[in-house]
Amino acid sequence: MNGLHDMGGMDGFGPVVPERDEPIFHAEWERRAFALVLAMAPHGKWTLDGARFAREKLSPADQLNKTYYERWLEACVDLMLETGLLSRHEIETGKPDPALPRATPALTGEAVLPALMRGSSARVDADIAPRFAVGQRVRARNTHPTGHTRLPRYARGREGVVSIDHGVFILPDTNAVMAGQSPQHVYAVRFSANELWGGRGNARDCVLVDLWDEYLEPVGD
């Protein structure tokens, strides 16, 4: 979706202001919100792509005005409501619906460290041929899907060169909505600053964007 989350190349947000001796979390509620979101994911009702999509679907005003972990939490609540893990009535009352069976945590305390160390790679062990080769000129498709995508607007319609073939990965566009993994190659595509920004900036510079096979088309036909 052409949402506010897709920020690359926008002006007007001011300078980057690093915080000296920044703590990992700025308040106790941030710790709890972070952990709640991570602890709910292993129920398997949504994917990481789905969680990103839920954050993108927050209203533009909320995306601008709410803090980072508020957005995480609001999106997680939306997902829990959508998937039936919680009901609106339960959120409003703060009490479990006695008619619903008690659940079992998907992540126990002892399982946390092993689960984090193991992670969950989006790489797919499948013998799928790449459509493009390193060194080949390609164009990012001019496409504006209303669902989740990881093709940023600033790259759409732009030409670049395949710089790295990263191998085969799950496609977020389908995986976000539980519509399958659609495994395909992901490439780091190198776009020159001139191609992206029309002469603004230093012509020597470039941006490398990781793009899925179906986001790309060959140049010259």
């Binding site: 980057v16 202001v17 709890r32 990103r52 008690r102 305390g109 990881r150 990263h166 990965f169 992901v186």
Partner: protein, 215 residues
């Protein structure tokens, strides 16, 4: 097992060390946490373990150890650049948000900078959770269109003939910048070198310098 007899549970806790009146969001998080625990969806011990992991166990010291090894062991540097995930796993730094790592090397002529314009993707096993500025709208919007301006915000000015490569983490590859080893550090061992390497240099918004050396 039914939730019925949990009805009288007291949600109010005042033990978090904050003595000001809790804001709406603080109350909302507390209410949600209580609800999810009561429903059996969340194990409170898991919450504590998650927080402890990212607050105390995993952080940029991990990445710094990797960088220092690459500076002192040419064979390791080669493995790291060829297969970041495997070489980093030699330290035991694996898992969530670092499953597939790519290490990009700075030199006198190339400077790498990492951003996630679409959200806040960041290599957790080697750098921990991202700082607020990395997640900020200012950084995410500008790093790709004005990388030199962003670097200037950090006090880093590069020559015009240095090529800046900005890596936008749009997929599940996570990038770690291997900074240049500072001149004059030849006498330092791996541990002393690791102590010099800060988080910002591994994102690409800073260089590594010796204490007391002019930038």
């Amino acid at each position: 097992m039914a939730g019925h007899d949990d009805h009288g549970h007291d949600h109010d806790t005042h033990d978090d060390g904050h003595d000001h009146i809790p804001s709406e969001v603080v109350l909302r998080v507390k209410a949600l946490e209580s609800l999810l625990i009561e429903k059996g969806l969340v194990d409170p011990a898991a919450l504590d373990a998650l927080i402890d992991t990212y607050e105390n166990r995993i952080g940029p010291r991990n990445g710094a150890a990797v960088v220092a090894r690459a500076w002192t062991d040419p064979a390791y540097r080669e493995r790291l650049l060829a297969d970041g995930s495997a070489a980093i796993a030699e330290f035991g730094y694996t898992g969530r948000q670092g499953e597939d790592m790519v290490v990009v090397e700075n030199s006198a002529t190339v400077h790498n900078l990492v951003v996630c314009t679409l959200c806040s993707c960041y290599p957790w096993p080697v750098l921990g959770l991202p700082p607020a500025w990395y997640k900020s709208q200012a950084y995410r919007s500008r790093a790709v269109i004005d990388p030199r301006g962003v670097l200037a915000d950090f006090g880093l000015v590069l020559d015009d003939d240095v090529e800046i490569r900005v890596w936008d983490s749009t997929a599940e590859l996570r990038y770690l910048v291997l900074p240049e080893r500072p001149a004059g550090s030849e006498h330092l061992d791996e541990a002393a070198l690791a102590a010099l390497v800060g988080r910002d240099a591994m994102i690409g918004v800073a260089k590594v310098s010796l204490p007391g050396a002019g930038a």
